[in-house]
Amino acid sequence: MTKLLKISLLLALLFLPQLLIPKDAKDVALIFKSKGVVAVKKKVTQKWQRARRGIRLDSGDKIRTGENSLAAIVFTDDKSLMKIRSRSSVRIQGKREGKSISKRIFMALGNAWFKIKRQRSEFRLETPTGVAAVKGTEFYTLVDEDGNMTVFAVEGIIELINKYGSVLLRQGEKGYSDGKTPPTSEQTGQTPQWGHEDEAPKAGELEIEYEDANGVKKTLRIEYEKNSQ
């Protein structure tokens, strides 16, 4: 009996962590637009496959883009957006916490734009040289081949952290982290603007309701395109 109990306890100890460790969340995000060469490596299959519009992303899935490419991703809990530009590599990690998903994005290389909604869940962007913790903000980030990280704050507040310190970035500020020194921040007037360039031009619709000679109500609908100027 004692021996049986010991074996049971041992097995429990082996499996318990796995029971306690939350399973990777499914359907964390969704690719709603892809242009050029975009590939996805599912954690389950560990194989790269060409990403198509509508493919679901689970926690642990990786995305990479080729030359002249773009992948637009929406997170399923709060509609936060992430757009990954050319020659980028990203891994998504997510954990469901009730109706929210706590998100961690690992960006090894590349150029990305984020628009994060204000939610209770956490959002962290991790790179080889730093971490950006955000909540309700819009920002750009660049990670070069050396892992150096640059963050452009468009809206909200971003905390840029590495092991040497942290810095808060506000709207119009740029932060830099090389992993060797504390992160720095400075004012910048050269924030990237490509985050919306792939969107369809703003268009409007005009509806005019009128009555014809017989008193029948009809609607005239006019679709027009707004000039960007």
Partner: protein, 837 residues
């Protein structure tokens, strides 16, 4: 006839060459196996071996058993076309259809051969059959007697498409996050529909996604139906989104040949023989305009083969530029100052307008007539002397001369208008016009003229132009013959026994004054003209009140159509009733013609009363129009004028009444659309002195009736049958004329209205006569024509007619011999090409 043959061959070649281009392009389409009754049927297809962006595709369809096809335009989604056939009831059994692609001269169909007679078919399947196959799917509506379960707003999140965004046709994804507990959702029973049509969706506990490869532009509805494991149904998640065309598709719908230039150009060749006389007219014309920044520019032109140097110009050319405040016109322009002074007269020269709003200038200079020398054509040859004879129109003398027709002087016009105010609500204008014949422009001419007109006008408008009032005054001086030049003060004083305060010779460059000047004494104000008009548009009444007084000596060579020596008032009201379905019109006019009696003729009282009733009840009801007018002339003379040698009857008192009635009705009979129209017109002119008149009576009676029936058939054919009869009697019944006209016309469209043929026959016969004249002729006319849209902006038009005119009538000459009128075989032929830019 040779021309006709050449044209027909050319037209056939165009169609044949166009057809030759067909074989390379193909429509690819997978027909649906079946369709569910009362459900729209989605059809898609694409074209092979073409990358044209201007191609159109039509979907022709009809229910089994119907004769004619209807069609709809398919949406061009970039790489495919899509269309939706309307729902069909199960009793239809089968729906037949075929596809047709058109691009410029290319026409492709599927099926490629005999699509009209061997179309594709879709079986219409009863819904019960489909329902059995889909029995495992979730019902759209809650179980009978049940209600939808409330779906909390925070239990789902619409990820895409966003209702506030617009999407391109190929980038739509349906995505909705779900936050329901697993025990509250049966994911297998989840159903997603777009525009009422179920689509395949991937459903998990947290997420619903569906990718739509292509969707047509426009607004679309998404509905998601969720069900609990216990079969209770949640209220559907519904939202709409907008899909727009891409910029490339926008641009593909417009055709531009010359960037920035729009307009129309046409070329026409016409040949005709009417009453034995042949006439050819080739013309080239058009209007073009463009814009560069704030500069707008354009040209109107017309060139005709009828242009001859010994006639006034028929060609027209106008080049204009508009720089907002400054407008320039060069060539044949038609300036407008005011109705009394200068109004639409063609001037070949230039017109410059500076419009600053608070002050405006309009300066015109040019010719209204070009110089044409006298000609020797159409001379009268004296049979004895062989001399050419000319009858002097002034004296009536016969002149032996080699001049048979006096020439036309070059007429120069200069005008200036200065106005204050934009003219929307207020404007006060001052006008000056000088028109003078150049006596040195030709060698042989008669009565060259010199004209000076001064005028002023004012306009006041308000209340959104519902109140509008304008008044104008003008004064003129016209010298009817300046060939002798101006008379000196001495000449005038001695001739007219007067003492004028100036010497006209000194002012000759402003106006030549001599004894032919009208008026000789301007103090009598006989050359003053003034008009005033008030317009009110309130309470469904459109009331117009006008008064005018045009002096007997008023002359403006800038508007030669003004009737002189008339004064009076007109009132007209048009009343709208019953939401613009009924219009009542009432009019009254009271004028005095020859009111100055300057020619010793009595003035004539003109009195008109008119009323009208127009009824437009709306769709599917007949339209009625009724008008009545009574018009009286009375010069107040009721006795004969007796002289020593003669008795003159210048009594004038007559009444003309005119009644017209028109009815038009659209109706359906034998499943065809018909339009029936009836017209009646009756006119009677009664002379009050007809019983005592010794000269020819003046009574007139006129009766016109016409009936027409237009029918539209299921095939693209329209026919019109019309019958018209007319009975006239004039000169108090001494002369009569009756005629009847019978006409049959038809029009047929082919290749989806790209080619329109029409033909017709008209039979006309007339009889009557009186007082030495016999009227008896028949005229049969056959007409044939067509219109072919070579491309969306290019049209080829041709029409021809053959006329057989057989005249058995004629007149009796002084010897009592009957001289028969000639008969003719005439024709017309026209070919026209139009290009729209």
């Amino acid at each position: 006839m040779k021309n006709l043959f050449r044209f027909s061959f050319g037209l056939f070649s165009i169609v044949l060459l166009a057809s030759a281009a067909i074989g390379q392009v193909r429509i690819v389409h997978t027909p649906p196996n079946f369709a569910v009754e009362n459900t729209p049927i989605h059809i898609t297809a694409y074209l092979e071996n073409t990358s044209s962006s201007t191609v159109q595709m039509r979907l022709y369809f009809r229910a089994l058993g119907e004769e004619s096809f209807q069609y709809l335009e398919m949406e061009n989604l970039g790489n495919e076309f899509a269309g939706v056939l309307p729902p069909q009831p199960q009793r239809v059994q089968k729906l037949q259809y075929f596809l047709m692609a058109i691009d410029g001269g290319m026409v492709v169909t599927l099926p490629e051969e005999n699509p009209y007679y061997e179309p594709l078919e879709i079986q219409i399947t009863p819904a019960e059959t489909i329902r059995e196959e889909q029995a495992s799917k979730a019902p759209i509506s809650p179980p009978a007697g049940g209600k939808y379960l409330t779906l909390p707003k925070d239990s789902f999140l619409i990820l895409s498409p966003d209702p506030s965004e617009t999407y391109l046709p190929n980038e739509v994804i349906i995505a909705v996050s779900l936050f329901l507990p697993s025990e509250d959702l049966d994911i297998d029973q989840t159903r997603v529909e777009v525009d009422g049509r179920p689509i395949v969706a991937e459903v998990s506990l947290n997420l619903i996604t569906a990718t739509i490869p292509q969707i047509s532009p426009g607004r679309h509805l998404v509905e998601i139906f969720l069900r609990r494991p216990d079969a209770r149904v949640y209220e559907p998640i519904r939202w709409q989104f907008l899909v727009r065309r891409s910029k490339k598709e926008f641009r593909a719908t417009s055709v531009t040949l010359i960037p920035g230039i729009r307009g129309k150009i046409y070329a026409e060749s016409k040949t005709e023989k009417i009453s034995g006389r042949k006439l050819d007219n080739n013309q080239l014309g058009g209007r073009l305009q463009g814009q560069q920044g704030f500069l707008q520019f354009g040209t109107n032109f017309y060139v005709t083969s009828l242009e001859k140097k010994n006639y006034q110009p028929r060609n027209r050319l106008l080049i204009w530029a508009d720089l907002r405040f400054l407008k320039l016109y060069f060539g044949d322009t038609s300036p407008r100052f005011s109705e009394l002074v200068l109004w639409g007269k063609r001037v070949r020269g230039f017109d410059a307008q500076l419009n600053l709003g608070f002050i405006n200038f309009d300066f015109v200079k040019g010719q209204t007539a070009r110089a044409i020398e006298a000609t020797l054509a159409d001379c009268v040859i004296d049979s004895v002397t062989q001399d050419t004879l000319f009858i002097n129109p002034t004296t009536g003398d016969t002149i032996t001369t080699n001049i048979c027709r006096y020439g036309t002087f070059q007429r120069d016009l200069t005008g200036l208008r200065v106005s204050f105010g934009k003219g929307h609500h207020f404007q006060w204008g001052l006008n000056l016009l000088k028109v003078k014949d150049d006596i040195n422009s030709i060698q042989y001419g008669l009565r060259p003229k010199d004209n000076l007109v001064l005028g002023t006008d004012i306009l006041i408008a308000g209340v959104n132009n519902r109140f509008w009032w304008t008044t104008e005054v003008a004064f003129s001086m016209l010298t009817d013959d300046i060939s002798g030049g101006a008379l000196s003060k001495a000449d005038i004083d001695s001739t007219m026994d007067t003492d004028i305060p100036f010497d006209p010779v000194k002012y000759e460059k402003y106006l030549v004054l001599n004894t032919s000047t009208i008026p000789l004494d301007p103090r009598k104000l006989s050359s003053i003209a003034w008009t005033s008009a008030l317009r009110l548009n309130f309470l469904n009444n459109y009331l117009t009140i006008k008064y005018k007084s045009i002096g007997s000596a008023y002359n403006s060579l800038g508007n030669t159509f003004i009737k002189k020596n008339i004064r009076g008032l007109s009132i007209y009201d048009r009343i709208r009733l019953w939401q613009n379905r009924i219009y009542l019109s009432l009019g009254y006019e009271d004028y005095w013609d020859n009111f100055s009696e300057s020619d010793n003729n009595p003035k004539i009282h003109l009195n008109t009363i008119r009323c009208g009733f127009n009824f437009y009840p709306g769709n599917k009801l007949p339209v009625f129009n009724f008008n009545y007018r009574i018009y009286q002339r009375n010069n107040g003379v009721d006795t004969l004028l007796t002289t020593l040698t003669d008795t003159l009857d210048n009594r004038e008192q007559n009444t003309t009444s005119e009644v017209s009635f028109n009815c038009s009705y659209n109706f359906i009979l034998f499943d065809l659309e018909h339009t029936f129209t009836v017209n009646f017109i009756q006119l009677d002119k009664v002379d009050a002195f007809k019983e005592t008149r010794s000269s020819l009576p003046i009574g007139i009676n006129n009766r016109i009736q016409s009936y027409s029936l237009r029918t539209k058939y299921k095939i693209p054919l329209t026919t019109t049958i019309s019958i018209t009869t007319n009975k006239n009697s004039y000169l108090g019944g001494l002369n009569t004329l009756k005629f009847s006209a019978y006409e049959l016309r038809n029009q047929y469209s082919a290749f989806n209205d790209r080619l329109i043929f029409y033909s017709g026959i008209r039979l006309f016969e007339a009889s009557g006569g009186g007082l030495g004249t016999v009227i008896d002729y028949k005229k049969d006319q056959f007409m044939l024509g067509g219109r072919f849209y070579i491309a969306r902006n290019q049209i080829l038009i041709f029409d021809m007619s053959r006329i057989s005119f057989k005249d058995h009538g004629g007149t009796y000459n002084a010897q009592g011999e009957f001289v028969k009128n000639p008969s003719f075989r005439d024709y017309t032929f026209r070919l026209r090409y139009e290009l729209n830019l």
